[in-house]
């Protein structure tokens, strides 16, 4: 059964001569519990797609049905509630609050979520048991990204969206972050969507959607995903 269903979705900026189609009639479905990688070159429209899936932006046309609800025409207030309850975000630049400790950054998310997980346990899960009292500036990039993932997970979201999560990290660290995400998906059976321009990591996913020029170029299901440790790029 389709957990996420995107139907004839388009995002158009401007009009007439200046019309730019960031997403042009996108269609796909994602099943429950899949680890999905959306891959495409810069400017292909994959981030726009992620924003629409995450309730940060509304499509110009089409339907975006997540868990049976069409969020395409949600009001700003409803979208906020949707983000609050159902979505966990991980950004390229972590976006931690510099003035809160690692633990507090995670609490920031857990406090607004009705069925949040135990914050300390989540911190331990992402391997930051010892660094909970540190401020972001005292953490390395990888550690900061782990905090960001912990913050996303602690809300106990239905869907984890990651925008270039390894973009600012070195190879090894990036790999460990991806491992973390893959494990999360496997253990919780929750949907994780990773947006990247790095085609090499496609093999770790259950489902790969390739975007080019605002359109879906390829939609492949991978029945035998590779563990991240074995992928090289």
């Amino acid at each position: 059964m389709a957990y996420i269903e995107v139907r004839n979705e388009s995002k158009i900026y401007g009009s007439g001569e200046q019309e730019v189609r960031a997403n042009d009639n996108v269609n796909f479905t994602i099943s429950k519990g899949e680890l999905t990688v959306i891959v495409g070159a810069s400017g292909a429209g994959k981030s726009t797609l992620l924003n629409i899936l995450g309730g940060m932006d509304s499509p110009t046309k089409g339907q975006v049905i997540i868990n049976g609800k069409d969020i395409a025409n949600y009001s700003s207030r409803k979208m906020t509630t949707f983000r609050r309850r159902s979505i966990g975000f991980v950004f390229q630049f972590y976006n931690l609050i510099p003035n809160l400790t690692a633990l507090e950054n995670v609490e920031l998310a857990s406090q607004i979520s009705p069925d949040a997980l135990d914050v300390k346990k989540v911190m331990a899960d992402v391997g930051l048991k010892q660094r909970m009292a540190n401020f972001p500036a005292q953490l390395s990039g990888g550690e900061q990204q782990r905090v960001a993932i912990a913050r996303a997970i602690a809300k106990n979201p239905e869907l984890l969206l990651c925008d270039e999560p390894t973009g600012a990290l070195d190879y090894q660290t990036g790999k460990s972050i991806l491992t973390l995400l893959q494990n999360f998906s496997r253990q919780t059976k929750k949907n994780v969507i990773i947006v990247t321009h790095n085609g090499m990591i496609k093999s770790m996913a259950d489902h790969v959607i390739e975007i080019g020029d605002g359109k879906v170029k390829q939609d492949i299901l991978n029945s035998k995903p590779t563990p991240v440790e074995q992928i090289e790029w």
Partner: protein, 827 residues
């Protein structure tokens, strides 16, 4: 200025000319009358050519004895060519001392002797307060002897109102006063002696005639015995009888003359400095002092905040240019070249701001404030020459504030390598705060409060500024509202709780018996009098140490001390306990005691119009907000002055206390021959109301300034806060914070700081209000220092409303933030 109650003789004029340090002396005459058909009293003065000259605004000065030039204020009531009719207090067209009662208006003038627009001085005509003035030719007066002498001294230096000038004038006046008093007494004795001598010769002549008459009588008797020519005899007898009657008449006339001569009123030559004879001069000076006090207090707050705001803004500007600086350095520009932009920008903004400020500060603002303040005065030619000193001082300060912080921040950055500079500045890292050491509190706080508390600690200078700005705003508002309420309160307390009488009718106790009786009968017959009592009233002066001019004091001796509290409540200012007049001391009013640094048990030196000094012991200090008064019992009066009280006034309490009714009663009283003047208790009310109307403008200025202060500070700081933390805000927005939560996330700290500022502002406002209300009121008045709780709540609520308005503007801005854009970009 010397004023005399009779004409100044040639001999005395010469004497006055030879007084020490006289530069110029000019004699003149003046006379008060009532304008027919109105209550307005007018003072007609002879024109002056040397001192206190009159400036013609339109028309010309009078040339004939039936012409008059009126005060320029009367321009709306009279036209040139119109005639004006004057009457005496009884409404009759017969004014002693004036040749005519009808005058042709030939011009309008302004005079430096009359600076005020209303209540120009005390008079015996009409209601007792001088309403206007006119200039007439010297020949308009029936007597050639002048009654006024204006003097200028050759040993005074400095400007009017400067203490050097006022002190020297007062010294000269004190000096001259004694000589003049001696002279007046001598002349009084002279006149009396001369009069008596004349009467004596008249008496001798009369006696001789009497003798002659009795001789003739005897002759006639003898003749009748001889009985020659009957008819002739009869005629002679008739003539003798007529002569006898004539002589008797002459005798009685001589006796009354002798009587009046012995009762001849004392001649007074009263010398007063400008502060004393020109009420407007004194008040204008007092008003100027008030402005001084305010202008030395308020701008400091604004200055402090302006400095802080420009410091923050300019250093932030430099920080925003960080990458630009890095790029310039990487391209090979020297450190100085990169600094140039801040130098130029800082100088340009500092100079532009200063130029605009200098223009407003020397032109528009002082003119507006002057217009509000001088509303009660006739002061032409207001001048605002640019003040080089203040302008250059403010330019220096503003340049320092605009250049220094920007250059300093840039200079610190330039120490880093260009490569480092081109990277975004790592956000200021968080740090532990004291509260975290108390886990039982800290662990119970939500992250919202945690982040707020950390931010408060992180940006200390901003915390300081917000508190200071809000503090200033609240304090200014409290002071503004407080000033108004304190002064409004005075009127209430003064006339409801303290002063109960409405008029004091002063009469001449030495007037002829029947005239005095008439006066007292008038008082008894007056309609609408609730209570009346007999008092002795005299205006005395006292000069407290360290003050360069005399304080006028109303000395009141009530005949009955037991029911006097019905007319004036004498009570302790703090305990409100009633004070009683004792037989071994006087009760003086609070402000007089403060000015003279006198406590109960001390002595006060008072001086009457003749310059005689007396020392009185102070046995009590009573609450009073306007005017100085001194109350004593008849017994103590006897002790101090050596003779018993010669009561000269009636204190009246009216049923209808309206100004109109008080005027009516005053007129009724001054109409009597024995009347000297009528003193209205609400004269002080007018003074307070004048101050109040001036202050209403001021309060408005304060409120506007305070609001602007709050807006500028809160807006600048919140704006900086928001732009610096745009990423944080976007992050929490993406995480699913509702708009209000996002706004509160950044605004909570401002709000807490505002609250702290408001609370501190309460303390600051109470202090500032206390300070201003102690220095602001003129020397004759004082204000109620207590602040109403509404002053605090109104000011606090207003400040918080300002804060909320700023928050609303920011909320709008925050909600329009493009959260995606902010998260994508590195910066």
């Amino acid at each position: 200025m010397i004023t005399s109650n009779t004409g100044i003789t040639k001999a005395d004029q010469n004497y006055m000319r030879k007084l020490p340090h006289i530069k110029t002396i000019e004699f003149g005459t003046r006379k008060d009358a009532v304008i027919k058909g109105t209550d307005k009293s007018i003072r007609l003065s002879s024109n002056t050519t040397k001192l206190s000259t009159n400036k013609v605004v339109s028309g010309r000065l009078p040339k004939e004895s039936n012409e008059v030039a009126l005060s320029n204020r009367e321009k709306s009531n009279y036209k040139i060519g119109q005639t004006i009719q004057l009457v005496n207090n009884k409404g009759k067209a017969n004014i002693s001392g004036l040749k005519n009662t009808t005058y042709k208006v030939v011009g309008f003038v302004t005079s430096s002797d009359y600076l005020k627009k209303e209540n120009l001085g005390v008079t015996s005509a009409g209601t007792g307060q001088l309403a206007t003035f006119g200039i007439v030719n010297r020949r308009a007066f029936s007597s050639k002897q002048p009654t006024v002498a204006r003097i200028s001294y050759d040993n005074v230096h400095g400007n009017s109102y400067s203490s050097a000038y006022e002190n020297q004038v007062q010294k000269n006046v004190d000096n001259t006063e004694k000589r003049l008093n001696d002279r007046a007494k001598k002349r009084h004795a002279q006149i009396k002696a001369a009069g008596l001598a004349k009467l004596d010769t008249a008496q001798t002549r009369l006696n001789q005639q009497k003798q002659k008459l009795s001789q003739t009588k005897n002759q006639l008797k003898a003749a009748s015995a001889q009985a020659v020519q009957r008819s002739q005899l009869k005629a002679a007898q008739k003539q003798v009888a007529a002569n006898q009657a004539k002589l008797q008449k002459a005798q009685s006339k001589l006796t009354t003359q002798r009587q009046t001569l012995t009762n001849l009123p004392a001649i007074t030559y009263q010398i007063q400095s400008r502060n004393d004879y020109n009420e407007g001069y004194n008040q204008f000076g007092e008003d100027a002092k008030r402005i001084d006090v305010l202008s030395n207090t308020f701008p400091i707050i604004f200055f402090a905040v302006a400095i802080l705001v420009s410091l923050t803004t300019m250093s932030r500007m430099a920080e925003e240019k960080r990458q630009e600086i890095g790029t310039l350095r990487a391209l090979g520009y020297s450190k100085f070249d990169t600094l140039k932009i801040f130098l130029i920008y800082g100088t340009a903004s500092g100079l532009l701001g200063s130029a605009l400020g200098a223009w407003l500060g020397t032109g528009l603002l002082p003119r507006r404030i002057f217009a509000a303040y001088a509303a009660n005065f006739v002061i032409p030619n207001f001048q605002t020459p640019p003040s080089g000193f203040w302008i250059s001082l403010s330019i220096i300060i503003s340049l320092l504030c605009t250049i220094a912080p920007a250059v300093w921040s840039a200079f610190l950055m330039l120490k880093d390598q260009p490569a480092v500079l081109m990277l975004p500045k790592p956000p200021k890292s968080g740090s532990k705060v004291l509260l975290e050491r108390m886990p039982f509190i800290w662990n119970h706080l939500s992250f919202n409060y945690k982040v707020t508390i950390r931010n408060l600690a992180r940006y200390k200078e901003r915390m300081f500024m917000t508190i200071l700005g809000v503090l200033g705003c609240t304090a200014l508002l409290i002071t503004g509202f407080g000033i108004r309420d304190s002064l409004n309160g005075i009127v209430d307390t003064q006339y409801k709780d303290i002063i109960h009488y409405d008029v004091i009718g002063v009469y001449n106790p030495d007037a002829a018996q029947n005239k005095k009786a008439d006066y007292l009968k008038t008082v008894d017959d007056l309609a609408g009098v609730k209570h009346d009592t007999t008092v002795y009233y005299e205006s005395v002066t006292s000069r407290p140490k360290r003050i360069d001019h005399n304080q006028n004091i109303s000395m009141i001796v009530p005949k009955s001390t037991t029911n006097f509290n019905q007319f004036v409540t004498l009570r302790n200012p703090s305990t409100k306990k009633t004070l009683r007049l004792t037989d071994n001391g006087v009760v003086i009013t609070q402000k007089l005691a403060t000015l003279s640094h006198i406590k109960v048990g001390d002595y006060l030196m008072v001086k009457n119009a003749n310059g005689d000094k007396h020392r009185v012991s102070v046995s009590g200090i009573t609450e009073m907000y306007a005017g100085h008064s001194l109350y004593m019992s008849p017994a103590y009066y006897h002790k101090v002055f050596g003779h018993s009280v010669n009561y000269n006034a009636k204190m009246l309490m009216l049923k209808d206390r309206s100004a109109k009714n008080i005027d009516r009663v005053s007129r009724e009283l001054t109409r009597q021959d024995a009347s000297i003047t009528a003193i209205q208790s609400d004269d002080a009310k007018a003074t307070i109301n004048n101050i109040l109307s001036g202050l209403n403008h001021l309060v408005l200025i304060i409120i506007v300034a305070a609001s602007m202060l709050a807006f500028v500070v809160l807006f600048t700081l919140t704006n900086i806060n928001v732009s610096e933390r745009i990423r944080e805000l976007s992050t929490i927005k993406v995480l699913g914070f509702y708009p209000m939560e996002v706004v509160m996330y950044v605004y909570r700290e401002t709000f807490i700081l505002s609250l702290a500022g408001v609370l501190l502002g309460f303390i600051g406002g109470a202090w500032l209000h206390n300070y201003i209300m102690q220095t602001l009121p003129p020397e004759t008045a004082m204000a109620d220092l207590t602040l109403l709780w509404t002053n605090f709540t109104t000011s606090g609520v207003m400040t918080l409303i300002f804060s909320i308005i700023v928050m609303a503007i920011m909320a709008y801005k925050i909600n329009r933030v493009d959260m995606l854009g902010a998260l994508k970009s590195v910066d």
